[in-house]
């Protein structure tokens, strides 16, 4: 299943839709969220809090690779699976 369509991660999709509008849905799978200016490193902290609040998974932000993975929607989903 396309992770964008997975209802389990709808809260993540909503996070980006609230910021960027509905058109972001078609782009999410392909873009670097930081490079495209949609989020910055501070927003990654907010995303980590959101993830923990919604599905109880604590992201290890002290790990550089994990922090880097937070830059892309699909790699965020991979961290959660």
């Amino acid at each position: 299943m396309n992770p964008i369509e997975d209802s389990k991660y709808k809260f993540l999709l909503d996070f980006f839709v609230q910021r960027e509008g509905d058109q972001i849905v078609t782009e999410l799978a392909d873009i670097d969220l930081v490079e495209s200016g949609i989020i910055d490193s501070l927003d990654i902290l907010d995303l980590a809090i959101l993830i923990e609040k919604n599905i109880g998974i604590k992201i290890d932000l002290s790990d550089d690779q994990t922090f880097f993975a937070m830059r892309r929607f699909n790699s965020i989903i991979n961290l959660l699976q």
Binding site: D40, S41, L42, L45, A48, I49, E52, K53, K58, I59, D60, L61, S62
Partner: protein, 133 residues
């Protein structure tokens, strides 16, 4: 817990100094933190006063740069001395909304020389723990 220092982030040193009614001559130490992309300016007017750390980013994509773009010159973190960095971090890890961000060593003379430090993000607040190495 006793506050060891407060960290104030600003895009420009002079802006931070002016905001706090301080002068260049109040700076007692300057540290280039290549890892985080910041220059740290330490101020302590007397032995009785707390240390103020001015955090000035030199990389436009650093976390502190993002912070100053959003908040201007503002309180960035509060620093505490801890006898055990690990213990302090472990306590935070048990809390919801608390995340360890970075752990590293840095040499700051006015902190007593080489120290181990860790930054924890706790529900929107940034806390630095310092353990003498």
């Amino acid at each position: 817990m006793k506050i060891h220092h407060v960290g104030i982030a600003s895009m420009h040193l002079n802006t931070a100094l002016t905001s706090l009614m301080l002068a260049q001559s109040d700076i007692i130490e300057e540290v280039h933190d290549e890892l985080q992309g910041n220059v740290l300016y330490f101020i302590r007017q007397t032995q009785e006063t707390s240390i103020i750390e001015l955090v000035i980013p030199f990389r436009s994509n650093s976390t502190v740069s993002n912070f100053t773009r959003k908040n201007g010159t503002a309180l960035h973190h509060i620093g505490f001395i801890t006898p055990s960095l690990k213990l302090s971090i472990d306590k935070h890890k048990l809390q919801k909304g608390h995340f360890l961000l970075k752990e590293y060593k840095i040499n700051v003379d006015c902190f007593g020389g080489k120290v181990k430090t860790a930054f924890v993000y706790a529900n929107g607040m940034l806390i630095e723990y310092i353990e003498n190495a």
